[in-house]
Symmetry: C2
């Protein structure tokens, strides 16, 4: 499968701290080395970086770690190919335009025999089930609101309805954003945390790097981080319930619904090879624990704040 990372913030924030740990999973601490990508919204603009090299060794990943692009909505993906060759056009996230806004989508999962009817408005460039699903989502949203973009309160139930259709085909963990909000859906595994005032110190799981966010933040800052696996080992991450579809804006959850996971996907959750069971979800705890570390990386000033 793959791994997802999302960040949604009240103020433009760089993702260098989280991405440093996340990128290590592309070849150092984990085996997701079949390409990677990251997208940063800056107001309506979106910058998308993809590479078929592993995120642990890619020169573009190195630049992303060192060039702090500040964004309110960031989505990253490291790939372990299940469908589609290891080619650049199959690297997530994918980008398309709808209603005069860029949309970004990244998927972790596996859709079996998934053949949506596409009218041609959006067509996949690569060969993944993921890009097919993204095209189907955007086509569905466009069909529901053919003129211009509706408010987020109307958009969210439309996305829920479309997610319900696609999730029948298999595991469909995804992150999606149009730069205004970040949508996160969990079929099998996804975690999030919200960092808010008073900020504390966080320490990465995948690299011995800490940062004391209190030094770089104001009371107005708030940052939601969403990931396939928790990125830090001294904060409490909240597990999504299987089926959860959440909408994040300004660094917090502003809407939540649940799209029941089909039985076939639930069966996957009960597979003993999975390290998380649908019958025993991680307790929902939204507040981060107090900081336990004072150690800081030399590069802390360049990290997300």
């Amino acid at each position: 499968m793959c791994q997802l990372l999302g960040m949604n913030c009240a103020a433009p924030t760089d993702v260098t701290f989280s991405f440093t740990g996340f990128a290590a999973r592309g070849g150092v601490t984990d085996h997701h080395a079949d390409g990677w990508g990251i997208a940063f919204f800056e107001d309506k603009a979106c910058r998308l970086f993809i590479d078929h090299q592993s995120s642990a060794t890619s020169p573009i990943a190195e630049m992303v770690k060192r060039y702090p692009i500040k964004s309110k909505n960031t989505i990253a993906h490291i790939r372990k190919a299940t469908q589609g060759h290891i080619q650049l056009e199959n690297c997530h996230p994918f980008m398309r335009e709808l209603w005069g806004r860029h949309w970004i989508f990244a998927h972790n999962g596996d859709l079996q025999d998934y053949q949506p009817f596409l009218t041609g408005v959006y067509q996949p460039v690569g060969t993944t089930d993921s890009e097919l699903a993204f095209c189907a989502l955007l086509q569905g949203l466009r069909k529901e609101f053919p003129g211009s973009q509706p408010g987020l309160d109307e958009l969210f139930p439309a996305l829920e309805k479309l997610t319900r259709e696609i999730t029948q085909a298999g595991v469909f963990n995804f992150l999606m954003s149009n730069g205004q909000a970040l949508f996160a859906h969990c079929s099998t595994r996804l975690y999030y945390l919200v960092r808010r005032w008073p900020f504390s110190t966080a320490h990465l799981v995948d690299a011995d790097v800490s940062i004391d966010f209190a030094k770089y933040t104001t009371p107005e800052d708030r940052v939601a981080v969403i990931a396939t696996q928790p990125l830090t080992d001294n904060e409490v991450w909240t597990a999504f319930e299987p089926g959860d579809l959440l909408m994040f804006q300004h660094g917090e959850v502003i809407a939540r619904t649940n799209v029941p996971v089909p039985q076939a996907v639930l069966d996957k959750l009960r597979d003993p090879a999975s390290d998380r069971s649908a019958s025993a979800p991680t307790p929902v705890v939204q507040e981060p624990m107090p900081a336990t570390l004072d150690l800081e990386s030399d590069d802390a000033a360049a990290f997300e704040s």
Copy 2:
């Protein structure tokens, strides 16, 4: 205005040599410092890098100069804003998908009171006349061939027809590609050269850097470079005739037509402030001159070959 750089090649080739000179025009040797961008096709995939910093100082430009991405179709742009604020969403090139392929577009010019009727399939994200024109071009191509992409022999006259409409609105020098071919249209100023066997040494106008292409090429290599202003001072660049629309593939011109430039645009050409007159075009000479320099940059091995 802005400056354009395009490269179309028989085999995947990196653009680092040409881009080194081109990027210097974004703040060092010229004043096009209102953002920049570059897009590389790698088969069907496309990587687009944009930055609102000047290309002379941007960390992303620095990475592009040092990370030799090999591509058969590359389009770059440095911006001097005429319409639209200096914002990231107004940086060229622009990217959209049509017929399951990415399309890239960059424009140098100024379209006055240009308000095409857009059905909504493509909508601009930013506020430039250029992105509007790109949306109109893709909408027009989609309307002409609603099912799937036609052959290049059918595509080219359709693009000619659409160019004829848009060029009524003003200066419309553009580069466009879908990864299979590169289309270049000249309203006022555009040059190209084709480097082919036997290759020789080229020396940049904007930086004291030379490369002896003979050392890095084979008889099968062929590279067309298109630019608003010649990039080298020891090769013969061919000036487009005003109105020329050329299609490049495999590093050479495979189709050529002329879309008569409207009188209002011709008047601009006759402006004494312009350093090029429509009545006295640069002679068309397609073969590069023999090399005159042996000097090489230390980085030559990393340059385009």
